[in-house]
């Protein structure tokens, strides 16, 4: 089975994925890691805000909103 990697921004609502890489540096990266967004963590796209950005994600039992400027640097692998 081929596993598809994509930017977290492109994870459809309702789908779940596994974090492959957090391609950010500095404080933003630290903040995301602190929130539990580390490689192998499971993320679910929960819903979009009216304007489509930010998007709410479920990460380790908490719902966290991320803007596309952050989520597009996070690589995930779809869980079928």
């Amino acid at each position: 089975m081929m596993t598809r990697e994509l930017a977290l921004t492109h994870l459809p609502i309702g789908r779940t994925a596994e974090v492959v890489k957090v391609g950010l540096m500095g404080l933003t990266r630290n903040r995301l890691l602190d929130l539990g967004l580390v490689p192998s963590a499971v993320v679910e796209a929960v819903r979009k805000s009216p304007s489509g950005d930010p998007v709410a994600y479920k990460i380790r039992g908490a719902v966290i909103a991320l803007r596309s400027e952050e989520s597009r640097h996070i690589t995930v692998r779809l869980i079928e």
């Binding site: 404080l27 903040r31 602190d34 929130l35 539990g36 380790r60 039992g61 908490a62």
Partner: protein
């Protein structure tokens, strides 16, 4: 920068803590993620013996309170709720500075039993600074409703510190928590937390810096943790070390001629 209110804030606050009307036999810091019921634990332990105050020089509100246990006066400081101690915000910096430079006799980390995993990041960060830590797993009543069970002995074994389940709202587990704090604060129990081991190259660098920190400030800081933050290039820590050294005898601080600025951003 001189000794402004900001630079002396932490130490003025600590001084006040140790010398309040009822002298504290032990100072205990309460840390934890936001929404873990940390303040409920604080209220349950201290009852009405508490007041809030501003951290001098910073717009961070701290509550302190006290209780008696086994003929000892314990002063409890409720630190701001944070996900991390890596000082991305004023709240995190206050929590970090208090735990590292304030050297509380015990640090209690309050965690949420319903999403324990995301709380353990902070626990590990605190353990990197001080082994004198107790983990309070709160909201066990809510976890039970959600059919979540936690293996506390296994958690205690793996972390190397006491782990106390509580439901502060229902006032359960508080006696055990007080006793665990007592044991750690007065040295009746010495914790042996598992050390986080970094990749080999990083460990080599840590070792070199740690040696230097230890030589310059023997026994003053947790040198391994300071080395890690220096490798991070954490400018706020460097500033706080300067503040801290400003408050210790001049000979110690000045004689070394050690300059932290190469790694800093200022």
């Amino acid at each position: 920068m001189g000794l402004t209110a900001q630079s002396t804030g932490l130490y003025a606050f600590l001084e006040e803590l140790r010398r309040s009307t009822v002298p504290a036999d032990a100072v205990v810091a309460l840390a934890g993620n936001p929404n873990t019921g940390k303040s409920t634990v604080f209220n349950a332990l201290t009852g009405l013996n508490q007041h809030t105050g501003n951290w001098p020089g910073k717009t961070v509100v701290l509550a302190k309170g006290s209780y008696r246990h086994q003929d000892k006066n314990i002063t409890l400081v409720d630190l701001p709720g944070t996900y991390s101690l890596l000082a991305n915000s004023a709240d995190e910096q206050v929590a970090r500075d208090f735990i590292c430079f304030g050297k509380p006799d015990t640090t209690v980390v309050v965690a949420d039993a319903t999403c324990l995993e995301r709380n353990l990041n902070l626990v590990l960060q605190v353990l990197e600074i001080t082994p004198k830590t107790v983990l309070c797993v709160n909201l066990v009543d809510e976890a039970k409703r959600k059919r979540i069970t936690v293996d506390y002995p296994a958690l205690a074994r793996n972390l190397g510190i006491p782990v106390i389940p509580t439901a502060a709202r229902e006032k359960t587990g508080l006696a055990e928590l007080k006793e665990a704090i007592h044991q750690v604060a007065f040295g009746r129990q010495s914790n042996q937390p598992k050390r986080i081991v970094y990749p080999e190259r990083l460990e080599a660098a840590i070792g070199r810096i740690q040696e230097e920190v230890e030589r310059l400030f023997p026994g003053q800081f947790n040198s391994r943790w300071v080395a890690l933050r220096l490798l991070d290039g954490d400018a706020s820590l460097i500033q706080e070390i300067r503040n801290y050294l400003g408050k210790v005898p001049a000979g110690l601080a000045g004689a070394s001629g050690f300059n932290f600025s190469p790694l800093g951003s200022n």
